[in-house]
Symmetry: C2
Subunit: 209 residues, 2 copies
């Protein structure tokens, strides 16, 4: 089972690494980090380099493709090399997935036309302009397309996908393996529960994740 | 505020990237990924390369040090270059932190003597032999030492630390920024709630995370 995770400059690391940590534990999984040009990609903070080991051209038909988000997603929206890879991979994929604003790249590639999808909370309405039906939900499954909300939602998405692929027991064992029994110190992870000032602060900046 | 995150071969990526995603968003934070020898380190699955941009010798006195875990932690337990860096950094740090079996490295360096600490659930009893008092808790704060349970617990640890450093509002805004309103599909993230077969399966393998 070939799993291709797209890397690009100014991505948000956790968008990619959360799902990687889950999906790479699936029996038979072979995860490859890919980019248009292989090599080290710097994340949105500039503080971390992640290695893309292969070119997207080397993996035209992965079983699963995963597009993370982050400020660098903007540059992908009209990057024909990326969009045509996404289109081609989606044609033959078993699962086409995204985290955060990665779904906007799926949308720009045209694969969300008429599909239910989600993205980072502050970017949700952008999905509509790309032909998708935005759904305010942490994980959205529409056929073989699975999209996650912002950043940390990729972990929940990947566990959901793991259960679909390998059954509940495998997914539960992976969840125990990463000791995922979250205890956030605040109830601030959603615009519905966070302080209004936090919501305003993030809305005033550029959407990220 | 200098934050040094240790990388090494066969670490568990999420141990490092979860807290990085939170702590790098703190006002004034400068995160540097360090290793005894700079360069690309491969994670436990072999599928991901993370770049260590600096040598530990270049950052002897970070304000915060963070030691992630993973199978590669074993090799660090008697790696004097790593242990002496940890000891020296801890002498002057504001916060000394770990995720998962990273706390065993803190223990091997001698900095957990008489301290309350936690680690990956399957490795908890190993802390006692290193002079620490194991605590079955997701995040344990003892003075300036903050240890997290397995893998994904680093996110909760970092948000707790963010609140101590910069106040609740900043931590809440970061939590919203990474949309951390977890919805695990199963209640299987702890050995107390996971299927017994999952617990047995992981206990039979080598402790990881």
């Amino acid at each position: 089972m070939d799993i291709a995770i797209l890397l690009f400059d100014r991505l948000t690391a956790l968008d990619a690494i959360g799902p990687y940590e889950v999906l790479s534990r699936l029996p038979g999984a072979k995860v490859t980090f890919v980019a248009t040009e292989p090599g080290v990609k710097r994340t949105d903070t500039g503080a971390l380099g992640l290695m893309a080991d292969a070119a997207t051209a080397d993996l035209p038909h992965p079983d699963i493709l995963l597009i993370p988000g982050g400020p660098g997603q903007m540059a992908l929206m009209d990057d024909e090399a990326v969009l045509s890879w996404v289109r081609g991979a989606h044609e033959t994929s078993t699962w086409t997935t995204s985290v955060c604003t990665g779904s906007l790249v799926l949308g720009a590639a045209g694969v969300l036309e008429g599909k239910k999808a989600t993205t980072y909370w502050a970017a949700l309405e952008h999905l509509r302009g790309l032909g998708a039906e935005p759904v305010e939900q942490r994980v959205v499954v529409d056929g073989k397309i699975v999209t996650a909300a912002g950043v940390s939602a990729g972990i929940d998405m990947a566990l959901t996908l793991a259960a679909s692929i390998a059954g509940d027991f495998v997914a539960q064992t992976i969840q125990l393996g990463i000791e995922y029994a979250p205890e956030p110190p605040f109830d601030a992870g959603s615009p519905k529960t966070a302080p209004k000032e936090s919501v305003d602060f993030i809305r005033a900046g550029s959407p990220r994740g």
